[in-house]
């Protein structure tokens, strides 16, 4: 069979891509020359096939500060995920009392004191831009902190690794067991591992749907079979994807599916703190000998491979920055533990920057420059977008107006020669009380109006949390046309006034007539 494999793998190729990415960001090359491994000779091409089979990763249990930090983050994030839909928020009798609720049938999004209608989806866009730039900022300061601590893929993979370790034992035991022939015990262990993974996945998918319906109502309904089919469908979907991505695919998601590793290189610069092996301190590697070999000079790295065994991505951090590295800092804990045992200073693997590696090499003191052009620009963009979003959110009206001009026909000539335009007016009242609003037309000259279908006059009574659609006919007398129309068109406004006389909404209105 003849096929072309499309998956570009080869760790070396990927690392090159990552370095190239950083180079594209316009900074000095990230790696100093001695850090680069010898490149293969140009005529050798790729040093392996384009398709790489997966090498199973058996991460070893780690103890230390970063491990404890990851536990804390996991507890907080999972806590938010599971608890958030159960929080209540009183919005009166007409609105749901769930603090966070995406009400898709009603097209409303409730977030504590905020309520968004579907046409206000641009706030979601602003939130996403903010999240993206926030990610840029964090990345430029601390490297891939998102990937290492907060990404759901990392959190759930980590959780699944713990389950695996709890049932099958730590790294060496697991490797040994995988090599053993099938036995009742092995099958029982593997089965119970997958059952627990699936149970966690069901709990994950099960919690997701509570964001879309009233949680206390839906929860019992799920068990007595009266919940809607979509609820079960989405539980199945998220159960499947959690099990597949967090349980089965794990590090492959980060390496092959996720675009972020390819993008993040552009956010890093020489001063970014990333999980690094301090080559200046560690090399040349060598074991600790009881009787030192004369002439052998060794660095602090004793080549114990603890960092490699700890890595959930299955890489060696000592090879320098790599696309696969999610910077979870577990290798820092693993190495520190060893350094303590061999009574050498901690921090052979640590959060470090390229600039500091170069400074140490040149005999200068370390510096941590968090305030750089890049970080300042990211912070300013966040402040600007965040400020604008907050401003518009605080000043948004609880009424909304849409005026759609008829286009077929664009205008109608009446018997007395006047010109009439038709409009569909949609007026929304987002407040939880009935209101009387008045529609006024400005800038179209002495127009005559006629409201039909949905409204009797320009004074419109509109119920709480509802929408009025009315047909409006606007006509201009023949003798006024010349004054008002410019090349057959006039632009004006419809403004909506509340009973106090304040403008609560406005919309442009075009009036069309024959071109003179």
């Amino acid at each position: 069979m003849f096929t072309a494999s499309v998956v570009v793998s080869s760790r070396v190729t990927l690392r090159r891509a990552s370095v190239a990415c950083a180079a594209l960001s316009g900074r000095t090359p990230m790696l100093n020359p001695q850090q680069l491994k010898p490149e293969p000779a140009p005529d050798a091409g790729f040093d392996g096939p384009l398709y790489a089979s997966r090498v199973k990763v058996y991460p070893k249990k780690v103890r230390g500060a970063f491990r404890r930090f990851k536990w804390a983050i996991m507890v907080v994030l999972l806590g938010i995920y599971y608890v958030a839909p159960w929080l209540r928020w009183d919005r009166g009798a007409l609105a749901p009392d769930q603090a966070i609720l995406l009400d898709l049938p009603a097209r409303r999004f409730y977030f504590f004191f905020l309520e968004f209608w579907s046409q206000e989806i641009y706030y979601m866009a602003a939130l996403m831009v903010l999240s993206a730039v926030g990610l840029f900022l964090v990345t430029s300061v601390f490297g891939r902190a998102w990937c290492g601590y907060a990404c759901p893929q990392t959190v759930w993979s980590d959780l699944f690794f713990h389950v695996e370790r709890w049932i099958e034992g730590d790294r060496n035991t697991r490797i040994r067991k995988d090599k053993m022939p099938l036995s009742v015990r092995k099958v029982a262990e593997k089965t119970s591992k997958h059952v627990i993974w699936i149970l966690i996945s069901i709990a994950t998918g099960g919690a997701w749907i509570f964001y879309f319906a009233d949680a206390p109502t839906l929860f019992p309904a799920l068990f007595n079979g009266t919940a809607p089919a979509q609820a079960y469908g989405f539980i199945a979907l998220f159960t499947g994807s959690t099990y597949l991505l967090g349980g089965i695919a794990k590090e492959q998601v980060c390496i092959y599916m996720c675009p972020w590793p390819r993008i993040q290189g552009a956010m890093l610069d020489d001063e970014s703190l990333i999980v690094s092996y301090r080559e200046d301190r560690g090399e040349p590697r060598g074991p600790i000998r009881k009787h030192p070999v004369p002439g052998e000079e060794t660095g602090d790295c004793i080549n114990c491979n603890a960092c490699v065994y700890a890595c959930p991505m299955g890489i060696d951090i000592r090879n320098g920055p790599q696309l696969e590295c999610i910077q979870c800092a577990l290798c820092i804990d693993a190495c520190d533990e060893i350094m303590d045992k061999v009574e050498r200073p901690r921090g052979l693997i640590a959060y470090d920057s390229f600039a500091n590696q170069e400074r140490r090499a040149a005999g200068k003191p370390e510096q941590f420059n968090f305030i750089r052009t890049r970080t300042v620009v990211y912070a300013l963009v966040i402040a600007l977008i965040g400020g604008l979003t907050t401003y518009f959110m605080l000043n948004r009206s609880d009424a909304d107006l849409n005026v759609l001009a008829d286009r077929n026909p664009a205008f109608v000539t009446l018997a007395d020669g006047s010109i009439r335009n038709g409009y569909t007016v949609r007026l929304m009242n987002k407040a939880n009380a009935e209101r009387v609003l008045t529609a006024k037309i400005e800038g179209l000259g002495p127009v005559a109006t006629r409201w039909t279908r949905g409204a009797d006059s320009e004074v419109i009574t509109i119920g709480p949390d509802s929408l009025v659609t009315a047909k409006l006919f606007v006509s201009l007398k023949k003798e006024d046309l010349e004054d008002v129309l410019d090349d057959g068109v006039a632009a004006g406004h419809m403004i909506i006034l509340d009973q106090m006389g304040y403008v609560v909404a406005s919309e442009t209105m075009r009036f069309q007539g024959p071109r003179q």
Partner: protein, 303 residues
């Protein structure tokens, strides 16, 4: 394949197919496993699909058919069922619309919404061919948005027109009138027609020759005022258009008006009662009435 026949490419480490063309060999790169398994799943799926759903077409001697499959699924039946369901859902409204008077329909927001929506669709299916999708009309086909009506613009008038048509001779109750061909039937001399053309343009407030119009006024009074009334404002009972307003069905230039008087205009609209049911015709009447030009009965009486 036994192992001694395996030919492995030195460079890539991949087995070859064993074929060789002028020293060029083809690598036998295996498909990715995920791809293969997905493919196998689709094969199993297809087998199941063949059994469950209609799959194999055949000609039974008169028409094309297909094996039914165990669930005997039929998209036509699904559509028919959906149509039936929708009709059942609309039935109470349709019945109410047939029963109610137009004033009741216009006063009832719910009935009005159903009638307007249904009328809008029926209009596009049946009427848009002549009157346009926006009912904006064309030359010889009236614009239904404006307030100028040949045969009356109350909702009852509109309903009568749609039901029985205009000059639709098969229908006993059709609206009927005939404008004489003043020129081609040699009722008037060409000069008289030219003069009356000028007078009609004067009535319509268009540029005209006052001298010719004055001569034409006499001819108009003798020949035209019976239908178009002495003041030229027309007569809706005869479908005679108002000649003093700004709306001209065939055009307001001198040549067109002359042609109209010379040959006459007697447009035809079919009666729809044979093609459409009463509910649909009533919905259409509501829709056309609501386009903006509809005349209330009190207004019509005042005119």
């Amino acid at each position: 394949m036994s192992s001694e026949h395996k030919d492995v490419d030195q460079h890539s480490g991949t087995e070859t197919t064993g074929h060789e063309w002028d020293g060029i060999k083809e690598l036998n790169t295996p498909l990715p496993k995920w791809w293969l398994y997905t493919f196998y799943v689709t094969v199993v799926w297809a087998l199941g699909y063949f059994i469950v759903f209609p799959a194999i077409p055949y000609f039974d001697g008169s028409k094309w058919d297909a094996t039914g499959g165990v669930i005997n699924y039929d998209q036509r039946a699904v559509v028919a069922e959906a149509v039936e369901e929708n009709e059942a859902r609309l039935k109470p409204y349709t019945e109410a619309i047939v029963k109610a008077s137009f004033q009741e329909i216009l006063a009832d927001q719910e009935l009005m919404d159903v009638a307007y929506a249904g009328g809008s669709i029926a209009f596009k299916e049946n009427c848009a061919g002549c009157h346009g999708t926006g009912a904006q009309g064309f030359v010889a086909f009236p614009n239904l948005n404006d307030d100028d009506w040949l045969w009356g613009g109350t909702i009852e008038d509109i309903h009568q027109t749609i039901t029985h048509g205009i000059r639709w001779e098969q229908d006993y109750d059709t609206r009927y009138s005939q404008m004489p061909s003043f020129g081609s039937d040699e009722i008037l001399e060409k000069e008289d027609i030219k003069d009356v053309t000028q007078y009609v343009m004067q009535l319509g407030g268009l540029d005209h020759s006052a001298e010719a119009a004055a001569r034409g006024a006499t001819v108009f009074e003798e020949q035209c005022s019976v239908c178009h009334a002495a003041d030229g404002k027309g007569d809706k009972t005869q479908g005679a258009p108002n000649l003093t307003d700004a709306i001209w069905l065939f055009g307001s230039d001198r040549e067109t008006i002359y042609e109209t008087i010379y040959y006459a205009r007697n447009s035809v609209m079919p009666a729809w009662k044979e093609r459409l049911d009463e509910a649909t015709i009533k919905k259409l009447a509501v829709y056309v009435y609501s386009l903006g030009g509809g005349v209330e009965p009190s207004d019509a009486a005042a005119r």
